[in-house]
Symmetry: D2
Subunit: 117 residues, 4 copies
Amino acid sequence: MDIKGIQQRLRVFAEERDWERFHSPKNLAMALCAEAAELLELFQWLTEEQSRDMAGSERDMDLVREEVADVFIYLARLADKLGIDMEEAVLRKMELNEKKYPVDLSRGNATKYNRRD
Amino acid sequence: MDIKGIQQRLRVFAEERDWERFHSPKNLAMALCAEAAELLELFQWLTEEQSRDMAGSERDMDLVREEVADVFIYLARLADKLGIDMEEAVLRKMELNEKKYPVDLSRGNATKYNRRD
Amino acid sequence: MDIKGIQQRLRVFAEERDWERFHSPKNLAMALCAEAAELLELFQWLTEEQSRDMAGSERDMDLVREEVADVFIYLARLADKLGIDMEEAVLRKMELNEKKYPVDLSRGNATKYNRRD
Amino acid sequence: MDIKGIQQRLRVFAEERDWERFHSPKNLAMALCAEAAELLELFQWLTEEQSRDMAGSERDMDLVREEVADVFIYLARLADKLGIDMEEAVLRKMELNEKKYPVDLSRGNATKYNRRD
C-alpha cells in the first residue's frame, strides 16, 4: 500500500467514526508533535551508542515501531486534510537539500551540524 | 517513488556527505521532534477554523509543505537506521486501531477524545 | 521556596541517587521536551473554549498541575547544569519583548500572531 | 522578582497589548512545546559531552538562555491562566519523587533510566 492508499484508509477510518470534526489541522499538528515526543522519550536516557544498539532488543523495537507508526499516521492525516502531496513535498525538499549541501563541499564538513542557529 | 525508495535516497545522501555518524537514532529522534514542533508553530495562534482554511493561502502552504517534508525525512531516516519497515508498522497499527475502536461503538462517541489520560 | 532553592533541592535529589550522570544538558533538553508534549497532549482534542474551562475540573487540573511541575523541574535542572540564572534570563527576555512590542503599536494589532515565519 | 511577580508582569504585558484573547491554555501549551523544541534543537547534533561543555561558549549560552526564558515565560503564563500555583505544584511533585525513589533503593540503580515504558 502506498502513501496515498494509507491516507485513503485513514480518511475512511475517521469518517466512519464521525471523528473528522476533531481532525482540524491545528489538532492534528498537536497530536503529531505529542507522538513525536513519545518517540523521543524512548531515547532520552540512552547514550547514542545504546540508541544504535536498540535494534537488538525486540521489546524496545515493538515500542519504537508503534510510535513510528503513530507519527506517520498523524502526519499522513494532516497532509491529507490540507491537500498536500506528501511524496512530492519530500522529493522537492530532497532536491533542495542536494543543492544546498553539495557533496564536495559537505564531505568531511560538519558545518550544518556545528552551527546551532 | 515509494517509502523504501525515499529511504534509500536519503541513505545515499547521508553516506555521500559522511553524515551517518551524526544520525544516531537518539539524534534523529531529536531532529524529528524539533521539526514536528516547527510544524506545530505554524498553527499555534490560529483558531481551528483558520487552520482548516489554511489550504487557501499558497504562502502558508509552502511553509507547511516544507515542514511536513522535514518531519517525513527524519522519520524515514530513523526507521531506516533501526531496520523498521514503516509501511508494515503503519498497517499493523491501523489494524489495532480498527479493532480497538469498532465503528458501531465509536460512532457519535468521542470517548477517545474526551479522555485525557 | 524561590527558584534557586528549588534548583538546589533538585541537585541534592539527583546527587543522592547518583543520577547526575544521566543529566547531561542534551538529555535534560529531551526530557523537558517530552514533558512539554505530555502537557500539550492534555489539550490536543479540546476546543480553545474547553481549554479555558479546564480549571473547572479538579480531575483535569490534577493532571495539568503534575505536567506543569514536570516541565518546571527539567527546565530548572537544565538551567542549573549550565549555570544559567533563570530569573535573570526571564527578566532580560521580558525587557526585550517590551521594547520589541511597544504598547501603542501592538494594541489591537495581532501582527505577531498573524505572521507565521 | 519571584515566580508570582513574573506572572503578574507577564499578565500586564498581555493585557496592555490586548493579547489575552490569543492566550487560551490550548494555544499556550502549543507555544510552550514549540519553545521547548527550539531549546532541544540547540543540542540535537551534539554529543552528551559537547552538551556538558556548552557553558564554555558565550555565543551558545546566549542562545540557550533565550530559549530557557521563552519556555519559562509560556509555562508561567499557562499556569497563571489556569490558576495553578507553580511553586506549590513543583514542591508537591518533588515530595512525590522523593517517596517514589528512596535514596537507598535508587542509589547505583538506574531502573528509572533503563525502563522505557
